[in-house]
Symmetry: C2
Subunit: 448 residues, 2 copies
């Protein structure tokens, strides 16, 4: 990752870096499946019409067209690369509703593309890992709690620093704003969303200038946003404002349910943070963001929320709740800060050395034995001097070199050398196993 991408915003990893990325992807997939979620992929392209339904972000979209495209191609058929996995998933659910079982629990790990200015944590091609539950017409609130716990489980298994999943509830915020007389609740949310970037004074000024808020309203909105808690004590703090609103009550009850269960199952990892607004419009209840402690400037590594209508066919609506993990953002941070590294860069645990060129087939026999027990290995392509073959293994980090020989009675002998310790012992190809820790490349904590 220290290398410069040859095309800005389109990073490519070296094999040893890819070991780390694959580890992250494997952990996410494994965790999502443990929680019962199915894998789905959608096509990389959508019609431009479909992508731009929500407006605003047309600048970021990559259009796709055949070099020799028929100039009569209808506008409705024009294609573009998807910029997230939510819009394609919504379309997939509507198109395939008749084939799916609801609530439909799926994860989706794929690339997306945005033509934004590249910077750390923001690439033009990037991998997201999304996990959502979608209901038909309705979806129990319990999933808002469960989804938070699933991503906590997943993130806890990754080689990353401590993290905080910060949770708020749109109903709580919007009900509160309404209760203090700020009727453009979406406008307030958009301003509050800028707190991290521009600070409370500037946000207060925005509220006054754009929404005509009074000093008192500004103070109340900012005070609400300053509330955080690892337990349900946030609710008393909100009630202390004395604001009366039905939506506020509903939001308080929902957020209390999330924090109550989460603080029990994942103490210190899920916190109520009433500054979380999420810019996007479609969230209607719970909203999530996640920061890596000590890496706050990286931005959120996992965000999402509840939407009352992810998709709708006119006849039916599909409410859902989900989160999206920024895999590329996480992996680039892990690599650039050496938070984790692989124990070796190749899969092979063993290099089977060649004594002479005729021994290649016998060496392949040994390799077959090892592979049948799940031990990754390769056979030297040349009968170079043993020192050279050992050096070949060493450069790749392959821990063991296997030597075939012949004893006085003409029988084939087998010895394996741990090239780290130099220890060499006689072994049987049908029973030898490397120590468990050397079987596969592992991802371990980097140096601090």
């Amino acid at each position: 990752m220290a290398r410069k991408a040859s095309l800005s915003g389109f990073p490519e990893l070296l094999p040893q870096e890819r070991v780390v990325e694959n580890h992250v992807l494997d952990v996410l997939r494994h965790t999502f499946e443990l929680h019962g979620f199915s894998s789905v992929e959608t096509r990389s392209v959508e019609t431009i019409d479909q992508l731009l339904q929500k407006g605003e972000i047309d600048k970021e979209v990559y259009a796709v067209s055949r070099l020799q495209e028929d100039p009569d191609t209808k506008k409705a058929e024009k294609l573009a690369l998807h910029f997230d996995l939510t819009v394609p998933f919504a379309r997939y659910v509507v198109e395939n509703a008749g084939y799916l079982n609801f609530p439909f629990m799926r994860y989706q790990i794929q690339k997306s593309w945005r033509g934004e200015r590249p910077q750390e944590g923001r690439a033009r091609e990037f991998t997201q890992a999304d996990i959502d539950v979608v209901g038909e017409e309705s979806l129990p609130f319990r999933y808002d709690v469960e989804l938070a716990l699933i991503v906590v489980d997943a993130l806890t298994r990754l080689p990353i620093p401590e993290f905080k999943l910060r949770v708020n509830n749109r109903k709580l915020s919007e009900g509160f704003y309404r209760g203090i007389g700020l009727s453009d609740t979406a406008g307030v949310l958009r301003s509050i969303d800028k707190l991290d970037k521009i600070g409370p004074d500037a946000v207060g000024q925005l509220l006054k200038d754009e929404l005509g808020a009074t000093d008192e309203q500004v103070r109340a909105a900012l005070n609400l946003a300053s509330i955080t808690a690892e337990d349900t004590s946030f609710a008393e703090k909100v009630r202390a404002f004395g604001v009366e609103d039905e939506l506020l009550d509903q939001g308080l009850a929902e957020l209390t349910e999330v924090i109550e269960e989460a603080s029990k199952r994942a103490p210190g990892k899920v916190i109520a943070d009433l500054s979380i607004a999420r810019g996007l419009d479609y969230y209607t209840g719970t909203v999530y963001e996640t920061v890596l402690v000590g890496h706050e400037q990286l931005g959120s590594i996992c965000s999402g929320g509840r939407y009352e209508s992810l998709a709708s066919t006119g006849k039916k609506t599909y409410p859902g709740v989900g989160l999206s993990i920024g895999v590329t953002r996480l992996v680039s941070r892990i690599l650039s800060q050496d938070l984790a590294r692989p124990t070796r860069k190749v899969p092979s645990a063993v290099l089977v050395a060649l004594t002479n060129d005729e021994a290649w087939s016998a060496a392949q026999d040994v390799a077959e034995h090892l592979r049948s027990r799940g031990i990754a290995c390769e056979v030297s392509a040349n009968a170079a001097k043993f020192g050279k073959q050992i050096k070949y293994a060493d450069r790749r980090g392959i821990p063991f070199v296997w030597f075939l020989g012949t004893d006085d009675a003409g029988n084939t002998t087998h010895e394996v050398k741990d090239i780290r310790s130099g220890e060499q012992v006689a072994v049987d190809p049908s029973t030898w196993n490397p120590p468990e820790k050397d079987l596969h490349p592992r991802v371990v904590a980097g140096e601090d």
Copy 2:
């Protein structure tokens, strides 16, 4: 797959179909790693200049541009989606040569895009699994044998019918043509490549019309192409023509080495087939194609060959040998012909039922126990009637439903029901395991 894609040429799978695709991808990855190959991914886009270097296929290329792209974007910076993984890999090798160990053994499983007319076995967005070894300046011939054996190992592990990996050698064919006086050897190869499509008579006419071949030359070229053998007997048949050519001798020796070792290690699966030409220009020795027996009209599901110069920096050349497996082509055939199917469509082995709404947290405790032992499970979101919860599991193919209860002494009881047999037994959440066959969805042979 029976469903029509909502965008022609861009197929999307249902969750149960995706189980089959993931199985195929997992098997390929596992096998490639067992043989010591590292995972690499390249970006999805290349510059158009880079992609069109080899000419010819511009019609198939999908250009990519930001919707709001600066009209001054230089032509050299225009982007397109890659149409295979070879061109991007060649660029990757040259760019990163200083960071790689040669011979560099990598596999790459990614999507590619081609704007061709969609038909079965040919999608506009498709997944390829490529495996290549690349040397710096030179690469031992042994890898031509090894790569054939690796893909045989991989394909043998897949839920597909019998297959034949057909091997030829460009040096053999070109030397032979030269030896019988046909100097435009590339032209002959291009015509011979059409044998499967247009038959020997039409190919003979092409050779006469386009290359001015005599009847005798046509007969010799077609006779050579008719030679197939499961062992090295093909060599005698070629020698019987009495053609003298140094390149021919070299090709014969190379193909003999591949078939000799392969017929020993994979009897009946690798055959010499002297009709294999491979249209693409960059192959310089061994060429491979693979057909599924009984599905020949699907085309080759795994092709490749040896190239003396995959990439070149002017200073250095990087010879290689590799093959590409058409994953989308294989998976769509598996699904459309019901060659294999998943034992269930969701990861969950267990549904933890809810006795009442207050039991949710206790049910999550059970789920945590199970997940800590790698058992995928989910918890009901609603305390519906047990019959309804069992129906929920049944629709998804979840084999076990877990019930919590309370005994007379007020202790929590646990029972698990196999909903296929109806058998229900008392169990301990900290020790119970499903039978191995029910732990994960498996992919099994479909009905014939």
